[in-house]
């Protein structure tokens, strides 16, 4: 009966050592166990929104709205009709709400205005056509993505810190506005 030499066995072992093997379970199986044990919690965004107080969620929406509109104004020549609509409906100007329902209704109106304004800008804004502005918006969008990731991570450490939340929401607003310049279509309220 023949035998492998020690060197031959070593070569086979080296091959075995490097061999890629599929995991023994799929992620759903592992995740189900982890969820049972409470090791997995809700996703970051839903957890944050779910744990936020109503006032904080409203404030977030307002900040997102105002931030998006402000950046939109700053980066393009906003048509007067839209400017007028946005000014009238900016909830920051109506900060005194009688109730949560009252604030929510105002928020819904503001969101509608925001979406209509976005649609209008996407159709009528001709200033985004130049190569220079496209480059600028592209770079800005990439930078904002990084900031967003950083602030999302920071929120894990301090989920209710108002400063961190403001940074996050301002970034989200700026990101939406920047995407609006980049993509010639209405921008929804991503993250809502």
């Amino acid at each position: 009966m023949s035998h492998l030499s020690e060197e031959q066995l070593d070569r086979i072992i080296a091959e075995e050592r490097l061999r890629e093997q599929a995991p023994l379970n799929d992620w759903r199986t592992i995740a189900a166990r982890a969820r049972e044990e409470g090791l997995i919690r809700e996703s970051q965004s839903s957890r944050w929104w779910a744990s936020s107080q109503p006032w904080l969620r409203s404030a977030a929406a307002v900040l997102l709205l105002v931030g998006g509109i402000a950046i939109g104004r700053a980066t393009i020549a906003l048509p007067s009709a839209v400017q007028s609509t946005a000014s009238k409906s900016t909830p920051a100007a109506n900060a005194n709400f009688a109730s949560v329902d009252d604030a929510s209704a105002a928020l819904n109106r503001a969101v509608d205005d925001y979406q209509r304004a976005s649609e209008f800008l996407a159709v009528n804004n001709a200033s985004t056509g130049s190569r220079d502005s496209l480059t600028m918006y592209t770079k800005r969008a990439a930078a904002l993505d990084k900031i967003e990731n950083a602030t999302v991570s920071a929120l894990q450490t301090a989920p209710h810190d108002p400063v961190i939340n403001q940074y996050y929401l301002a970034t989200m607003g700026a990101r939406v506005a920047t995407q609006q310049q980049l993509v010639a279509r209405p921008v929804g309220l991503r993250g809502f």
Binding site: I12, E16, E20, I30, A34, L39, E42, Q156, T157
Partner: protein, 192 residues
């Protein structure tokens, strides 16, 4: 995507996506050591689940003193050996050279060499198999193996010597046979 500190924090905080990235990146290696230490695929899958639960439970205690993969690998080895001990599969550390258990049916998607070595390893006693896997494949020292298995360093060396001798005999056909002549279901390990 490398599993960085940010993802680690997220995983500790229960972020499923971060945990999944961690699992995706390390499961091939972690599960491979579990699979090699067990000679039963179903048992290996069960133990792998326990290993990953333990890794996730222990995440907050990971201090970054070693590479994450190394740290997780230690957990995998400990957990697997403990599980095997519990089911009395590793009670006897003597190599039973005469043991010629029947070959199991082969999977068609495995490579010939990989399948051969798996089958050959399954013919080692649990103790010899553990020593061989830990030393020759996973790179443990005999001292470390002694600590893991509760045997002396000399005992580990002796087990390895016997394991390698048996594997050299069991895998001898690899230098003579071409994989193309092997038919499905044929045992790939030469009779001892």
């Amino acid at each position: 995507m490398p599993f960085d500190q940010l993802d680690l924090k997220r995983a500790i905080d229960g972020d499923e996506r971060a945990m999944q990235r961690l699992w995706s990146q390390h499961a091939p290696h972690i599960d491979a050591v579990v699979r090699r230490l067990c000679d039963d695929a179903e048992l290996a899958a069960d133990i792998s689940q326990e290993v990953w639960m333990q890794i996730f439970r222990a995440l907050p205690s990971y201090r970054g003193d070693s590479q994450f993969g190394t740290w997780a690998h230690r957990i995998a080895v400990n957990r697997t050996l403990n599980a095997l001990r519990k089911i009395r599969r590793i009670a006897k550390l003597e190599v039973d050279i005469e043991d010629d258990s029947a070959m199991t049916e082969t999977d068609t998607d495995r490579t010939f060499v990989a399948e051969s070595i798996q089958q050959a390893m399954s013919k080692l006693s649990p103790g010899a198999r553990a020593v061989f896997v830990l030393h020759d494949i996973e790179g443990y020292t005999h001292g470390e193996i002694g600590e893991e298995l509760g045997i002396t360093s000399g005992g580990s060396k002796s087990q390895l010597f016997k394991a390698r001798a048996k594997l050299r005999k069991l895998l001898a056909h690899l230098v003579d046979e071409s994989p193309t002549v092997v038919v499905k279901g044929k045992a790939h390990v030469a009779p001892v």
